[in-house]
């Protein structure tokens, strides 16, 4: 199977869907890039991170639309186009920028179907960059999927690897609900095997990335990779750790989590987001409510601290949950005796 990057996997997914369905359009700041420039703009920049590279060349600037820096207008245009027959992919360059346009997402797109009595369909995909790891500072590094996941009507996708990124992006585009597709900026260059042909991954179906029997780790996005590393390390210490990658934080595959905890009796939730009202809180509380009797130890959470993301790379490294912190929390939880 071809080995490509996470960035290329997302790009491939969009290109394949655009070939298949003329209703798919892409819009956002510099998604083509170079519009109006003195070089003539033939060479598309393809997005600030190169994720939309080549789409403008293949599909033309009527379907790959550079916009002004007006995120409310971009998100609203995407939502309105979705409501009236297109299947738009609207880019919010960095997820941190959502503060200037969240209304169009949470009060508009996400609520149409419900508040219009089931008569509206809003097949909007919002693609956006999340997360820390690039020294990009407090306003360009946040992992905001927890509060996005709290919004009824919105689906939230958090792929941890190139294979999932492709299948989940195709599903997002075909999905009839508004979806926020969270690309982790620290994963863009990650390589993995990705089939050339088109495929989808269902939302709300978690993946077991490691099988184990002593403890369950639940995570999503970038963090899954650290969890896998920790599980592999701990396997060397004879601990059998199961890792569950939620893949989508809305819908949440609670059942797979419950089943695993019923087996292992111990749970650690790892989340790059700040701790309060995080996905870690959510998963932990669901288990504490629904499979309490299976628990043999306190439910641990490893998250970022309740602070902004510091710019200094050295502080940022301390901010981000990593393999060592995860492994330490696993050990502690395994040592716990009722």
């Amino acid at each position: 199977m071809p080995i490509i990057t996470y960035r290329e996997a997302i790009n491939q997914a969009m290109a394949q869907e655009m070939r298949r369905d003329p209703l798919v359009v892409v819009m956002g700041e510099d998604v083509a890039g170079g519009s109006g420039g003195s070089a003539g703009g033939e060479e598309a920049a393809g997005g600030v991170m190169g994720v939309t590279q080549g789409l403008a060349t293949e599909f033309g600037r009527e379907r790959v639309i550079d916009t002004p820096i007006t995120e409310s207008a971009i998100m609203g245009m995407g939502a309105g186009a979705a409501l009236t027959g297109l299947r738009p992919i609207a880019e919010l360059m960095f997820a941190d920028f959502i503060g200037v346009c969240f209304d169009q997402i949470y009060n508009q797109a996400a609520k149409f179907r419900y508040m219009f009595g089931g008569k509206a369909v809003t097949p909007l995909t919002i693609k956006t960059l999340i997360g820390a790891g690039m020294g990009a500072g407090p306003q360009h590094s946040q992992a905001i999927y927890p509060w996005l996941s709290s919004v009824p009507g919105l689906k939230v996708v958090t792929p941890s690897n190139p294979y999932d990124a492709k299948g989940l992006m195709i599903q997002a585009i075909r999905d009839d609900d508004p979806v926020i597709f969270c690309e982790h900026k620290s994963l863009l260059a990650m390589e993995g095997e990705v089939p050339e042909e088109s495929y989808t991954i269902d939302f709300g179906k978690a993946a077991k990335t490691r099988e184990g029997s002593d403890l369950t780790i639940v995570s999503m996005s970038w963090m899954v990779n650290f969890c896998n590393e920790a599980a592999d390390q701990l396997a060397g210490e004879d601990f059998s750790v199961e890792v569950i990658d939620l893949r989508t934080t809305s819908p949440i595959d609670y059942e797979t989590v419950y089943e695993s905890v019923r087996k292992t009796g111990r749970l650690l939730v790892v989340d790059e987001a700040t701790p309060i009202c995080s996905m870690a809180s959510e998963i932990s509380s669901a288990v504490a409510e629904n499979v309490f009797e299976s628990l043999d130890a306190p439910i641990r959470k490893v998250t970022a601290p309740h602070t902004p993301v510091p710019a200094a790379p050295m502080l940022e490294a301390l901010y981000i949950p990593d393999t060592a912190k995860i492994a330490a929390a696993v050990r502690e939880t395994l040592e716990y005796e009722l």
């Binding site: 359009v25 207008a73 609203g76 186009a81 027959g85 297109l86 219009f116 009595g117 609900d177």
Partner: protein, 323 residues
């Protein structure tokens, strides 16, 4: 341009329907039978109807505001379904889940009333983009209040529409107030000048003159439909009621309130114009008035008699898939 008898009758019927819908609601609201809040459109009928008489049901879209009943009726949304929606009944156009500020009917090209000031113009961009992309010849018209004019989303939408040359008409209704604050205080400069600053044509018309709005709308909509891009119409408008039904309006003088109703009633103006020109006669207009009143009696009676939503409706329609 001269309107046909049929067009005149249609416009009058629509305007009268809006007026009586609102006046009846106001009465019912004071009685306490209507849930939530309602913002009445009485006095501004000429604007919604002046625009919407040019719009098709299937390819043209409007985006609306919290004061949306008039826009909905003008765009052809079913009056009884609207009444039932405001009464929060299962027979309402949104099954009772939306209420007065969220009436939508995509089949009629109505993108929804909107309880967020400035919420609709970005959405209207999308309808215009669909029209442009699919080459339907459709036009998209967001309605915008003088207060909403200042919301950043509106400026963003105006710029985007110009950049992408979208088929749109930004329809500003300047009724002089945003809630209790005057436009003269809160809306700096001029809306027409804002249009021009983005490179769009902009024009100002008297909103109590149906014919003036209708003519300006024709030009703007034709331009948009023919690839000429977006433009702005600002209509001076006259809000007969308070911001919401029940607002005591301490911020408005008695003279202003009197003058608004006596000197700026678009329906009276229309009647005077068409009867003086002998295009329509009083009797046929009176007959319409009577029919509309009967329709309102029916709409209210049916809405009140209609069943509530079912308890399980609380949980449906959040997603297409996944509960």
């Amino acid at each position: 341009m001269q309107l046909s008898r049929e067009e005149l009758l249609s416009a009058y019927t629509r305007m009268r329907t809006i007026r009586e819908f609102e006046e009846r609601l106001n009465v019912e609201f004071q009685k306490g039978t209507v849930p939530g809040f309602i913002h009445l459109y009485s006095g501004q009928e000429g604007i919604a109807v002046g625009i919407c008489e040019h719009l098709d049901e299937d390819r043209d879209y409007i985006g609306s505001t919290h004061r949306g009943h008039g826009h909905c009726i003008a765009k052809g949304v079913d009056v009884k379904g609207m009444m039932a929606e405001i009464y929060a009944k299962s027979t309402g156009v949104c099954g009772g889940k939306g209420g007065s500020m969220h009436i939508a009917d995509l089949d009629k090209g109505m993108l929804g009333a909107n309880a967020i000031v400035g919420g609709a113009p970005p959405l209207a961009l999308g309808a215009a983009l669909t029209a442009k992309t699919l080459k339907t010849g459709g036009v998209s018209v967001p309605f915008i209040g003088d207060g909403a004019a200042n919301q950043g989303t509106v400026a963003e939408a105006m710029n985007m529409a110009c950049v992408l040359n979208l088929p749109m008409v930004f329809m500003f209704e300047n009724n002089g107030y945003a809630e209790f604050t005057a436009a003269s205080y809160a809306t700096a400069g001029s809306i027409e000048a804002r249009a021009k600053a983005y490179g769009m044509p902009g024009t100002t018309v008297a909103g109590d003159d149906f014919f003036a709005v209708h003519e300006a709308a024709r030009e703007a909509i034709d331009r948009a439909r023919n690839g000429g891009g977006p433009s702005v119409i600002e209509a001076t408008a006259y809000r007969f009621h308070g911001h919401f039904s029940g607002d005591p309006q301490v911020y408005r003088s008695a003279e202003e309130l009197k003058s608004v109703r006596e000197d700026h009633d678009v329906l009276n103006n229309f009647r005077d114009r068409v009867t003086e020109a002998a295009l329509l006669d009083q009797q046929e207009l009176d007959a319409i008035d009577a029919e509309v009143l009967t329709l309102m009696d029916e709409a209210v009676a049916e809405a009140m008699a209609a069943p509530d939503p079912m308890p399980e409706d609380l949980f449906t329609d959040v997603y297409n898939t996944y509960q």
